[in-house]
Amino acid sequence: MARRRWRAARLLVLAAALGGALGAGVDAQGAGPETGAGRVVPGYPFEFPRDHFSHPAFDTEWWYYTGNLEAASGRHFGFELTFFRKTRAVDRVEPSAWDLDQFWLAHFTITDTREERFIVDERANRSGPGIAGSDVEKRRIWNGNWSVEWRPGDEARPTQVLTAMNRTASLRLTLSPRKPAVVHGHGGVSRKAAADPRAASHYLSFTRLAATGTLTIESEAFAVTGLAWMDHEFFADYPIEGKVGWDWMSIQLDDGVDLMLFGIRDANGGYGADTTGTLVDAGGAARHLEFGEVILRPGRRWRSGSTEAEYPVEWEVEIPGIGLRLDVRPRIDAQEVFAEGGILPAYWEGAVVVSGEREGKPTGGIGYLEMTGYAEEFDTGGIGDERTGAESGSAR
């Protein structure tokens, strides 16, 4: 209990920092739309490598790396390495390296399919004296010794090196883009809600990254190869009325087509018109999928023993416009990102396999599925501390 209380303190900072973003509807106190000066507006002039790195003017930003890996033996692993950033307004009377103007959170997970093991670690830091950050000069984004480094060279398809470790596992992966970065939405703006154009982000992805590297679990090292996905998103915090979470998935089909799909969910479990996504063909050309063009149907539910949350771990995806229908199945059910006493509300993010048909022909592939807003804490905003509920509950 003692431990939990203490964690709650840290948690609240994060709830404030990321609640509005991840929760898509949790209005965290002190992190209103006014925090950062940055606004998501159409025609944002993307420029690389600059825009691969951080945008402190925007409240919230994240870099999501997920992927499916295989050892030489064929043994399957999934991984997630995510860097979250949050801008906070700080009164700089007497500047200190430890001022909390930039807050960094990171998640590192490994899915060991054969052992049905899911390793989760969370790391929270302020920028501090080089503890965490993003540095365009050094081409690096890091949180402690978890990092991604962008190798110089082909700026359209920059090689990215991931490093992460804890006392159980370590991962070092070199990711080579097979397709250039895709900017989602129209005019560089990815909208989240059909009814409110202000709910939007700047969102880009490397949808197909060839991964090679080493994964070590309990001092057993595996040479791994596979396919990874990278999402980079930045935006001004903006709560969306009546929404409690989202479901998102990345799909890499065997024929070279990649799909990013998401729906913003309301309390009844419906999406309204708020499902959308992007289709990237084998050549790398992207087509935006408009609101309503994507149909997401939740299937079998799995109940988390840690949070008691029930996640629909199986999905049926339909995009009638292109004649695509897919079944999404988790590699293992237990891929809930929940750290005991962790900062972020629990969410489910895990490796999946997909199979189905396109225009009558069978197709299949791999991917990652993310589901937020199912855990009770997340849902009520009362993340382990009675005060939070009182403070942020009003926004619901």
Binding site: R5, V90, G341
Partner: protein, 840 residues
């Protein structure tokens, strides 16, 4: 078997019959044991569990990184990026005083956001979103008893701040640490340490035994130290060990004096029961049986004494903890006493010393009892004759012992414990015991004649009486002399030390006022103030100079030391340092100003065996700096090594201009009294205090006296036991010589004359013991100052004779002897002459 019963009945019966004497003896043993137990217990409680209060939040770290002048923030960033499964906990450490109570408590700045080890450590009730980040948020450990939500005014460094207590951290009952905790950014600001960390704890995986230090080394600056965690506790322990040993040795003196008392008592029994012993021997008891009986008696005294001593010692320990704790706090580091715990080891120690000493003391009398043929045993004064005839041989052995004692003084310390130094006084005491008979004989002969004039013939008779029972007389003289020597040697040592410190304070503190951060002061506080304070002071009319001073903690050769940075240019006008090696001050100051030289304290020089002209490599700031030693100076500020360098020149390596203190030198014609107010006005708004130098001196002396309070207490107890021994010895004497006294009475001596006779004897004994004690004490003082102190503390102390104190003490001893003679005198004067003679 029947004989054995008879024998033991003989012993037990006499113990019961002579209850007063038995009680006295048991009390003496009890006191001796009690002192040992108390010192042992108090030592354990106030130091055994000793832990630096700054280690409260250490957690399970395996290493800690420190750096003189603080670790630059950025080093932490470099460390956390190391691709190793290590966790790093940065710390800002300092002290804050609570304005309301004046209590000075450790203040920790921790990474409230990023440090995952904090979750394992503290818990904080009801934290909230913005609270963590407010610069006035503070958490208090529960033992401070501050309620969440309370406003808390504190002074840290040179600022007073109102903080809001956001929550309470539960601490374990055993530790009950009292501290405040803030976020690292807020703590840096409050303590004036922005940009610097005091410590970084390293948490390594427990199951991996790799050379982490090797891995960390390339990342931290060359000047940083990577130490196993808990080094501070180890440092403290090491530092305190010598101090504890000295206390222990002193506590054993009491039992040594007590041993004489046991010797006396058993001897008294032997003397009184000579006839009975003869009878028992005549009916067939063997010598071994007789001897065993008396040794058994000694053991019984020892056992009873030890049991009582344990109880009394436990009680005494309550007071002793405070005294010892006070000494530790004032001489070393702030400590919180732990619990008094009677460990099996302590019990064993008590029983062993009690019984061991008793049996050892009973050895000679027991041998004497068993020694002669049955008829001889019935004759008296065998011992006296023996002593008289053997005294020549004794003198030779005494000379050998003295030689050994001198040799011991040149034995180097073993692990900083001056073994030779401890042995020397014991050997000297042995020598005194051996020359005592001959010396007493000579002195008594002379005294007898000399005293005849003022006190009449009875004085002569008294002296002769003493001389006639030399065995007993010399023992009591030795016992008293040892106790006296203890008083004298401690008096001389502490007196000299005090005088030396007073002189040193006088010369060291040259400024008229000292300005320092208001709140936390004292050892290890490390509080600093803005340099601007000194600049403001310089503008005050009447101020001639302002000396800026800054201290940094560092380690040299893995021993902690303090580096003081001073404006050495000012030393030319206001010399505040005296050199041991006759260095020319002007030359030294010039050398220091170059920045590649320092001067070191005597302690540092002694401990590391470095001297003028040598070069040392110091970890200063981020680098390792080669510095020459320009001179060695006297320092009595504490048990810590001290180095002094030029502030201006060494700022290059330790680029933190903040000050630990500033000395204000007034113009010779300035109005001292008025200046105080002017200075205060000049620094108003800054949380600094302006202290007249006189106050600092007085405080230093007060601390000094407090540190030695326990010493005096131990001595008083030893002296008390010695006086008990004296009373008993006189009683023995009276009893032993009862037939003479009876004869005197028969020949017309009055009751008053007999009383006077005994009193003169008491006075003579006291005087004799004082004289011998004075000599032994003076010799012991030399050993204490030149060997024990030097070896365990490294201070050289100028010898001062505290004449008044000594005269007073000796007067008290003689007076106490006479008082101790009052009861025996009464007993002696009340003897019924006829009955005594008939009994004989």
């Amino acid at each position: 078997m029947a004989r054995a019963v008879l024998l033991f009945r003989l012993i037990v019966r006499s113990m019961v019959r002579d209850r007063a004497r038995a009680l006295l003896t048991v009390s003496a043993v009890a006191l001796g044991v009690a002192v040992i137990v108390a010192v042992d217990l108090a030592g354990e409680a106030s130091m055994g569990s000793f832990r630096s209060s700054l280690e409260a939040l250490q957690g399970t770290a395996s290493h800690e990184i420190t750096q003189a002048g603080g670790i630059p923030d950025a080093v932490h960033g470099d460390l956390v990026r190391l691709e190793e499964p290590l966790v790093f906990s940065p710390r800002v450490e300092g002290f804050a005083s609570l304005v309301e109570t004046g209590e000075r408590v450790p203040l920790f700045g921790v990474d409230l956001i990023g440090d995952p080890t904090l979750g394992e450590k503290g818990s904080m009730a009801r934290p909230g979103t913005s609270e963590l980040l407010d610069p006035d948020s503070v958490w208090a450990s529960d033992s401070l008893g501050i309620a969440p939500g309370a406003r808390l005014a504190v002074v840290g460094a040179d600022r007073r701040t109102e903080l809001e207590v956001r929550g309470v951290i539960e601490t374990s009952e055993a530790q009950a640490d009292r501290y405040l905790l803030m976020d690292i950014a807020a703590a840096q600001r409050l303590l004036g340490r922005t940009g610097r960390l005091d410590r970084i704890y390293v948490h390594a995986p427990l199951d991996e035994t790799r050379d982490w230090e090797e891995r960390l080394r390339p990342v931290v600056p060359p000047g940083a130290a990577i130490l196993p965690s808990g080094t501070r506790t180890e440092d403290n322990r090491r530092m305190l060990r010598a101090f504890r040993w000295n206390l222990r040795m002193m506590s054993y003196t009491t039992i040594l004096v007590g041993a004489f008392l046991i010797y006396n008592t058993i001897t008294a029994y032997v003397v009184r029961r000579r006839q009975q012993i003869g009878i028992v021997r005549a009916v067939g008891a063997s010598r071994t049986m007789i001897r065993s009986a008396f040794l058994f008696e000694g053991a019984v005294f020892g056992l009873l004494g030890a049991a009582a001593g344990l109880v009394v010692g436990r009680l005494l320990a309550i007071g002793a903890v405070e005294a010892v704790g006070g000494t530790v706090s004032s001489l070393y580091v702030t400590s919180t006493p732990g619990d008094l715990e009677l460990r099996p080891w302590t019990v064993a120690l008590a029983v062993l010393t009690g019984v061991g000493t008793s049996i050892a003391s009973a050895w000679w009398p027991a041998r004497e009892a068993a020694g002669g043929a049955p008829t001889e045993a019935m004759a008296r004064a065998r011992l006296d004759t023996q002593v008289r005839t053997a005294s020549g041989r004794f003198t030779i052995v005494a000379a050998v012992l003295t030689g050994l004692a001198i040799a011991c003084c040149f034995v180097p310390p073993v692990d900083r414990i001056p073994v030779g130094g401890y042995l020397a006084p014991i050997l000297l005491a042995g020598a005194v015991a051996l020359v005592a008979p001959r010396l007493s004989a000579v002195v008594l002969r002379i005294a007898g004649r000399a005293l005849a004039a003022p006190f009449g013939v009875i004085a002569n008779v008294a002296a002769r009486g003493l001389a006639a029972s030399l065995g007993r007389t010399s023992v009591i003289v030795t016992a008293m002399a040892v106790a006296t020597a203890l008083v004298v040697s401690m008096g001389v040592t502490v007196g000299s030390f005090r005088e030396t410190v007073v002189d040193w304070l006088e010369s060291r503190l040259q400024a008229d006022y000292y300005v320092s951060p208001a709140g936390p002061g004292g050892r290890g506080a490390g509080s600093t103030m803005d340099e601007e304070v000194a600049a403001r002071l310089e503008t005050v009319p009447g101020v001639m100079d302002v000396g800026r001073f800054r201290t940094h903690s560092l380690r040299y050769d893995s021993i902690p030391a303090t580096l003081g940075l001073a404006d050495v240019a000012l030393y030319e006008r206001h010399p505040g340092v005296e050199f041991l090696d006759g260095s020319v001050p002007e030359a030294v100051w010039a050398e220091l100003a170059r920045g590649d030289r320092v001067i070191v304290s005597e302690l540092f020089s002694y401990r590391h065996d470095v001297h003028r002209g040598d070069t040392i490599r110091l970890a200063l700031g981020s680098g390792l700096v080669e510095l020459g030693i320009a001179a060695v100076f006297y320092d009595y500020s504490g048990e810590r090594d001290l180095l002094l360098g030029d502030r201006e020149a060494l700022l290059e390596h330790l680029p933190d201009p903040r000050l630990s203190s500033a000395g204000v030198y007034l113009e010779p014609d300035a109005d001292f009294a008025a200046s105080h107010a002017t200075l205060l006005r000049a620094v108003s708004g800054r949380g600094v205090k302006v202290t007249p130098t006189r106050t600092i001196r007085e405080e230093a002396i007060r601390i000094f006296d407090r540190a030695f309070a326990i010493t005096w207490a131990l001595e008083a107890i030893a002296m008390f036991v010695a006086i008990l021994a004296m009373a008993e010895a006189l009683l023995n004497l009276v009893f032993d010589r009862r037939s003479e006294l009876a004869l005197l009475r028969m020949h017309g001596a009055s009751v008053a004359q007999v009383r006077r006779l005994v009193l003169v004897q008491a006075g003579l004994l006291g005087a004799l013991a004082s004289g011998v004690g004075l000599v032994l004490g003076a010799a012991t003082a030399q050993v204490l100052l030149r060997v024990i102190h030097k070896q365990s503390f490294g201070w050289s102390v100028q010898l001062h004779w505290p004449w008044e104190l000594l005269a007073g003490a000796l007067g008290v001893i003689v007076a106490a002897s006479v008082v101790a003679g009052l009861y025996p005198a009464r007993v002696g004067s009340r003897l019924a002459p006829v009955e005594v003679l008939r009994a004989d």
